[in-house]
Symmetry: C2
Subunit: 343 residues, 2 copies
């Protein structure tokens, strides 16, 4: 088969810690036949997101795990090749949970049509998609930033964090971004308007973070966990809010060596009247989605809200890119260009 | 001096872990002279509460620590012996932050007058006082129990927990009390109306708790931390709420041996969309205090809401009683009878 053959990536083995390339398997497959009500899709862009690491594990999480031999889950932008659903026609572009594959036949009721003229297609997987709404919902529904407050954001150059830091500024707060390495930190202050950026790889990170937050931290947008949380904890002000959106620093951990850091976190939660709140973006859809599309959509179209994409070509490169993302090697929203729209 | 002499208990040394009797010192003192605007008080009942353990440590907490040589802080019911304040007269009974002593001269503006005819005096230090409002505010403002939900309560026979389990029933929830030992557990089901009671000292505690919560836990009222939290964590339902009111199991800890239990807690916060929220009761006073006095006051007067007191006689016995309370040896709200009202 040619490079444009029907291909998919399945979970070959459950990772023990950091995923290996051998945990994934690229398979060729027959072009699926769309059944009644189904739409045949060709994937254009696949989104790679940290939450997928959790789906590779067996056991309890907020969604059921990917089974061994099953296609890796994921959202994509796809073009309609053929349709047995009245609402979709060849050439339509849709948002679809295709998983990691080049083609899929899905029920039309599970798709959302995209107007390609409104914003670049890829934004629907990033700043105007699930990651963007995760930023918007978490910051506004849980964080509730007030003018003059300090908002610290982990993984601030990533798909979610890069919008949080900008929304914090729009809300009138002081915005402090945390990222890995000087290049990302420079991007935070020069491009995204952060009042300060702190490199979590710097050996002096806790002291630098404290210096960047002279009035403490009122909202900490948690996307990382681990050492970043340990540096944030003593800086949290009374009644600080901590939306917990991700914990990328611990997704690959196998063992958690002592000391036990839970008592110190619980003590601060108690003595500082902290709110620590995990969430999935879905729960805020009814109350916040219209405002998100209006506010962030306009900001993106007018260039006031910036975003950055980190795109790799070819479905076969998705596993390595995914592993790199978990290591913090990406710079911006990670996407796989599976096919060009015109091919 | 006689037993009725003016006495006080000061912090003699900062405890290293579990407090010792030698960390406290009983001192005799001259009867204070009330200055302008001040009221001379004779303490009738002193309240002993777990939060006082935190005040014995140096360093950051939600209130400033007791200094070495300073009188231990605490709330009391006291009788007015003499007054230089227009609103108070000899024989009045007041609620006052006297600390651990037999007599105090305090500014009248810091006192609250009590009507002794409305409810037993001691209830103003317990079910109708700070501990009661801590229960009411935390359960209603953070927990927000819905009919049919399961509310699990740590330290459920204590001053705060014993009201939480009853308020949970009143709200139509299933009420599961956690306490130490069969006597306290029997009290929870036979006297306080708990649907189930679980003994955290039972070696099989995690399994027993799971059996007592067949539909999981929607609200966990945290007063303890440690091993109880570890047993609760896997039972929490999506969107469970955890008001954190106290952490008595870790107040005396010096070291926290590994493994590091923080990552597992953070993972559940994220994957179950949990809300973990520390608080001090004060923050809910404006919104909830009137409702508290009305609801709980009526319940206590009519006997629908039960409470239990654990009273020791004599200020000199306060340190040992306090140490016992931290060890879970009390049964109900701990009070020290410092003087009889009629003496």
């Amino acid at each position: 088969m040619s490079r444009s053959a029907v291909r998919r990536i399945v979970l070959a083995a459950r990772p023990h810690g950091r995923p290996q390339l051998s945990d994934f398997r690229l398979e060729e497959a027959a072009l699926p036949e769309p059944g009644a009500g189904e739409v045949l899709l060709r994937v254009l862009y696949l989104s790679l997101d940290p939450y997928m690491r959790g789906r590779m594990n067996a056991g309890r999480s907020y969604a059921k795990p990917v089974e061994l031999g099953e296609v890796m889950t994921g959202e994509a932008i796809a073009a309609v090749l053929a349709s047995n659903h009245p609402e979709y026609h060849e050439g339509d572009v849709v948002l679809a949970g295709t998983g990691w594959r080049t083609h899929a036949a899905l029920n039309g009721s599970a798709l959302r049509k995209i107007d390609p003229s409104r914003a670049p297609l890829t934004t629907r997987l990033g700043v105007l998609g699930m990651p963007g709404f995760t930023a918007y919902g978490g910051l506004h529904a849980i964080g509730k930033p007030q003018p003059g407050e300090t908002v610290a954001v982990a993984a601030a150059s990533g798909a979610v964090g890069s919008l949080v830091v900008q929304l914090a500024k729009i809300a009138g707060a002081r915005s402090v971004g945390i990222a890995g390495g000087p290049e990302k930190c420079a991007y935070l202050t020069t491009e995204l308007g952060c009042d300060a950026a702190v490199d979590h790889r710097d050996p002096d990170f806790p002291r630098l973070l404290a210096a960047a937050c002279p009035a403490g931290i009122d909202i900490y947008f948690e996307n990382v966990g681990g050492a970043v949380w340990q540096a944030v904890l003593p800086l949290l002000n009374d009644h600080a809010r901590v939306p917990v959106c991700g914990l990328i620093a611990q997704y690959n951990a196998v063992r958690h060596e002592g000391p036990d850091r839970l008592p110190a976190t619980m003590r601060e939660i108690l003595s500082r009247s902290l709110t620590v709140r995990g969430y999935l973006n879905y729960e805020f859809l009814p109350d916040y989605f219209d405002a998100f599309l209006r506010d962030v959509g306009a900001g993106v179209c007018e260039g006031r809200i910036r975003y950055r994409e980190d795109i790799v070509d070819g479905l076969e490169n998705a596993p390595q890119k995914f592993i790199d993302m978990l290591d913090g090697k990406n710079f911006g929203k990670v996407l796989v260009r599976v096919a060009r729209a015109e091919t």
